[in-house]
């Protein structure tokens, strides 16, 4: 017994996951396992002395993780979709300048710089935002296929859509910003609120939307392109379309400052931008848009090409604006939608019922109800107020600021709730 136990312990010790082989490159990423597994395999095949460690975290948790690690034990690479996340990191002095990489990569896509002008991060793939739907679901429910964001506000889609919350998903935040920038603050929110009201669920992570659409729980979802394209290219009964008000934004990769092995980190970043690393993006299970234009020649027919004009990106995404009001937009969305989804949906339901009942007749009460249900609780001017923006950016440890912030949030929540309740009242009383 004793020898058996001793042998078991010895065997266990021999097989322990050893920490340091040669260079361990730790990558914090929000990307799914299909993608990270492919890069890990290819990278470790090319650099057998390196070991790639993946830390899968959603963008917000990834930022918190990098922040909390002491210099010297930080991960080497941060790799995610949302450019804001990189702005937050470089603002906190957590990134190391790497400058421009592969010269074959164009400086701009549309008007948007591919790499960070200050050299803190680089674009590694391109991403557009769009609509993904389950063809079987739409057919079974007799729903028309959507083309534009604005299509989704129609009553027929009530209870059939899905969207994630920007506070939990960086890519959803980009979608929300894209709509707000493309359509303006008021129209943007009006559409967003109506879309959210039509949603069956506000999902916890951005993947919840494509997942639900793929397996038929939801009809249509607002997603980042690769979710839709990967599902479609892997045989799921789904379709994906870029609406005209979309933006093409790079998904970025950056070298974290204060990591153990910056050289290894740099090596991995160069690998992801090389011909080899870029080609991996075309894998049907990954289906992302390379930043290296020459790769598109290898892509299958019908593969969207942002350099070839197959995607009309009308919105010139302003990442400075997006970053400046990040916390305000995120919190507004949560207070008006995420936490009040039931009430918002009830307001929309009451509106649609009233519209049906009135049969197209004009009604002041109904217009008022619609306005109450689908208007943001603060206007663009209030949202760009310096004091407000500063309040939301204050440190978490600043007790007074967080108290004041909580108060503002409660006000928004209370106002939204009251608006939705009043909208239900007005709509059900509309004659």
């Amino acid at each position: 017994m004793k020898t058996l136990a001793a042998r078991a312990v010895a065997l266990a010790l021999a097989c322990l996951p050893l920490a340091a082989v040669a260079d361990t490159v730790t990558v914090v990423t929000s990307f799914p396992k299909e993608l990270t597994a492919a890069y890990k395999k290819a990278y470790e095949a090319k650099y057998p002395n390196d070991k790639l460690e993946i830390l899968n975290k959603n963008t917000a948790a990834g930022i918190a993780y990098v922040r909390e690690q002491a210099a010297g034990s930080r991960p080497e690479v941060f790799w995610a979709s949302a450019p804001d996340a990189f702005e937050v990191l470089s603002g906190a002095k957590l990134l190391q300048k790497i400058g421009p990489g592969n010269p074959a990569i164009p400086a701009k896509v549309g008007n948007y710089p591919v790499n960070d002008p200050e050299g803190y991060y680089r674009g590694q793939a391109l991403a557009g935002y769009g609509l993904m739907w389950n063809t079987r679901y739409l057919k079974a429910n007799n729903l028309p296929e959507p083309r534009e964001w604005a299509d989704l506000v129609k009553p027929v889609y009530f209870g059939h859509l899905a969207i994630s919350s920007p506070s939990r998903s960086g890519t959803t935040h980009l979608t929300v910003e894209t709509i707000l920038q493309g359509e303006g603050w008021n129209t943007g929110w009006e559409h967003l609120l109506a879309i959210c009201a039509n949603s069956a669920a506000i999902t916890e992570r951005s993947f919840g939307v494509p997942d639900g659409v793929s397996n038929g729980q939801f009809g249509i979802g607002l997603v980042i392109d690769f979710f839709g394209l990967a599902a479609k290219n892997s045989g799921m009964p789904v379709e994906f379309v870029y609406p005209s008000q979309t933006a093409i934004v790079p998904a970025n990769i950056a070298l974290v400052d204060g990591a153990k092995s910056s050289e290894g980190g740099k090596r991995f970043i160069e690998f992801t931008l090389s011909e080899e690393g870029q080609t991996l993006l075309l894998d049907p299970k990954i289906s992302r848009l390379p930043v290296l234009p020459s790769i598109y020649a290898k892509a299958p027919a019908g593969y969207p090409n942002p350099f070839g004009g197959t995607i009309q990106a009308k919105v010139n995404f302003d990442s400075t604006l997006s970053e400046s009001r990040y916390y305000v937009v995120v919190s507004l969305f949560d207070q008006m939608v995420t936490f009040r989804h039931k009430e918002l949906a009830a307001a929309a339901k009451a509106l649609y019922d009233a519209e049906k009942r009135l049969g197209g007749k004009k009604s002041a009460a109904l217009d008022e109800a619609r306005k109450l249900a689908f208007s943001p609780v603060i206007d663009e001017k209030q949202a760009s107020d310096k004091a407000l923006l500063a309040l939301f950016k204050a440190k978490k440890t600043d007790a007074d600021a967080s108290k004041a912030k909580a108060k503002v949030e409660e006000e928004w929540a209370a106002k939204a709730k009251a608006n939705y309740a009043r909208a239900v009242e007005l709509a059900s009383g509309a004659k």
Partner: protein, 560 residues
């Protein structure tokens, strides 16, 4: 009853282990929740918590979900328990199966499958919509959590209630029958009140488990409950966020309260019967109608209980399963993916859970021996400390570990403790220790001290008596404890999600969770789930066999 210095040293070492890895982390969490950052006491964080409407809502939702789950689990479990114990009934084996099947499948794994079967466009609702034009919102929001948890946890009530029903002296029932009570009245006025201790123990356990569960709400996309909120606060805002700790304190308070409450409830009233055991109540026979009803109920429950198992198997084998009742094309590709990409995770599970279970039975055996065979002062304290571990939510312990051991490095350049694989072994072993300890205690109780005395009489020293006589005689119980610790640790998710800092360190349970986070990962995630479930199933079978073989006087299946 003797005391030897070396045994006292062992007791001290165990106490130190428990203090370091159970008491201090939990105390740190509680301290942080009440600390103003400068070492002073404050209730400001609790005030902030109650000022956030989302938190109030989460609190209410957690209470609601746990309460309704207990209610529904009662509805399922009580008839089943009553049937097995009181009636001449051939379905008893089926009911025993019903009591074990759900426990084999971790709730969060089953949750994904339940979505495919009972979700908005799940198999059941597609059939209902086609046939009757309506659907059931079984998996919408909190309903989904309640549904999944009820099916997973009702066995706790079933097992405890069956055990306590079996202990009721038949003369009580006969007396009641002589006085004219029968049927529902007999059950309500006499049988159920007498079986109350078992019911309360089971129900409070269900309440705690549901209240603390993190994996199921996360997989089902439900975040407006306490445990997910604590997790989200701590991971996305950071370890400094006090609200996360406030939630932890609430979770601990409810856990301790529910366990203490059930203990108090049983103590408060005298449930002892003058005579018990021996005279088993004569089993009544069912009328044909009753039989039909009983078999119908059992069949329905069996179908429900099997659905996550079946669902996960189908998911793991399906290429495309979208908006159809059953998947269309079958494939083994997901298993291939798992065996190439997730080998490390499978190995990690064996490593962590094996070492944790080894540690558990070693400590469990030592504590059992110290408590039952020595007179070391304060020895009962060890037993009580371990029982405390039973009431500690994994989430709280996980957050406590991250906070307490932050910045502590392993010797010899092993890196940070919280980023190493050791942290899993420690966390699993502390939380699974109560299971192992119960097994070891039971095993040692059955070893007569005369055997040890005999060994010492023929000249064996204390240590060789322990090694050559006590431990071999306890072996059945020790092995059962090992297996129980192992399989429950393998299915653990709350601590695992928090403590996993790198993918290469992740055990299978995290792997399943991670795969479930992407559209195309559902298949491989389910495949890994099937592997985990098979592992747990084999383990459960083994532990039942071991308990049955080790103690011929005890009936198997009383563990909860």
């Amino acid at each position: 009853m003797r005391t030897s210095p070396s045994l006292a040293a062992v007791a001290l070492a165990i106490a130190a282990f428990l203090v370091a890895f159970l008491v201090i982390p939990v105390a740190t969490v509680v301290y942080t929740a009440f600390s103003d950052g400068q070492g002073g006491f404050t209730l400001a964080h609790f005030a902030a918590f109650s000022g956030i409407s989302l938190m109030r809502e989460s609190f209410a939702n957690s209470l609601y979900v746990a309460g309704v789950t207990v209610g529904l689990a009662t509805v399922i479990a009580v008839p089943l328990a009553y049937l097995t114990v009181r009636f001449q009934f051939r379905g008893a084996v089926l009911i025993q199966t019903l009591g074990v099947l759900p426990l084999v499948m971790p709730a969060f794994v089953g949750a994904a499958a339940m979505q495919m079967l009972f979700g908005r466009s799940g198999s059941v609702n597609l059939v209902l919509r086609d046939a009757f034009g309506f659907t059931l919102p079984l998996m919408e929001g909190l309903n989904g959590v309640i549904f999944v948890e009820t099916l997973h946890y009702f066995p706790f009530i079933l097992l405890n209630l069956s055990a306590s029903l079996a202990n009721i002296d038949s003369s009580m029932e006969e007396a009641a029958q002589n006085l004219g009570a029968s049927g529902w009245r007999l059950f309500r006025k006499v049988v159920f009140p007498l079986a109350m201790p078992g019911y309360v123990a089971g129900a409070s356990l269900v309440f705690i488990k549901v209240f603390d569960d993190l994996g199921t709400p996360l997989v089902l996309n439900v975040t407006n409950m306490l445990a997910p909120q604590a997790y989200l606060r701590v991971t996305s805002i950071g370890l400094e966020d006090p609200i996360g700790y406030v939630i932890c304190v609430i979770l601990v308070a409810f856990s301790v309260g529910a366990m203490g409450g059930s203990w108090w409830f049983v103590k408060r009233r005298d449930y002892a019967l003058v005579s018990r055991g021996g005279v088993q109540a004569p089993r009544r026979t069912l009328t044909p109608w009753q039989s039909l009803l009983a078999y119908g109920w059992i069949a329905a429950m069996l179908l429900l209980v099997l659905s996550p198992h079946l669902g996960i198997l189908l998911m793991s084998l399906s290429k495309v399963w979208s908006f159809t009742v059953l998947p269309e094309q079958l494939t083994f590709a997901h298993y291939a993916t798992v065996f190439t990409d997730a080998k490390q995770m499978i190995w990690n599970t064996f490593l962590y859970c094996g070492l944790a279970a080894l540690l558990d039975v070693a400590i469990g055996t030592a504590i059992a021996y110290i408590v039952l065979r020595t007179a070391i002062p304060g020895r009962q304290l060890l037993d009580h400390l371990v029982t405390v571990a039973l009431a500690m939510p994994g989430l709280v312990l996980g957050i406590g570990y991250l906070r307490t051991f932050k910045g502590i490095d392993l010797p010899f350049g092993g890196g940070a403790l919280t980023a190493s694989w050791l942290i899993f072994v420690l966390a699993y072993s502390v939380r699974r220790l109560p299971y192992a300890l119960r097994s070891c205690m039971a095993a040692l109780t059955q070893v007569h001290p005369a055997l040890e005395e005999a060994a010492e009489n023929v000249g064996a020293g204390r240590w060789s008596t322990i090694r050559r006589v006590v431990v071999p005689l306890m072996m059945g119980g020790i092995l059962a404890g090992f297996v129980t610790s192992f399989i429950t640790a393998a299915a653990e998710i709350s601590e695992t999600i928090l403590l996993t800092s790198r993918e290469s360190l992740a055990p299978m349970s995290y792997g399943i969770y991670l795969y479930f986070q992407s559209v195309l990962g559902r298949g491989p995630g389910a495949a890994l789930g099937v592997i985990a479930v098979s592992l747990v199933a084999v383990g459960t079978y083994l532990s039942h066999r071991l308990v049955a073989a080790g103690s011929p006087h005890q009936s198997p299946g009383g563990r909860a």
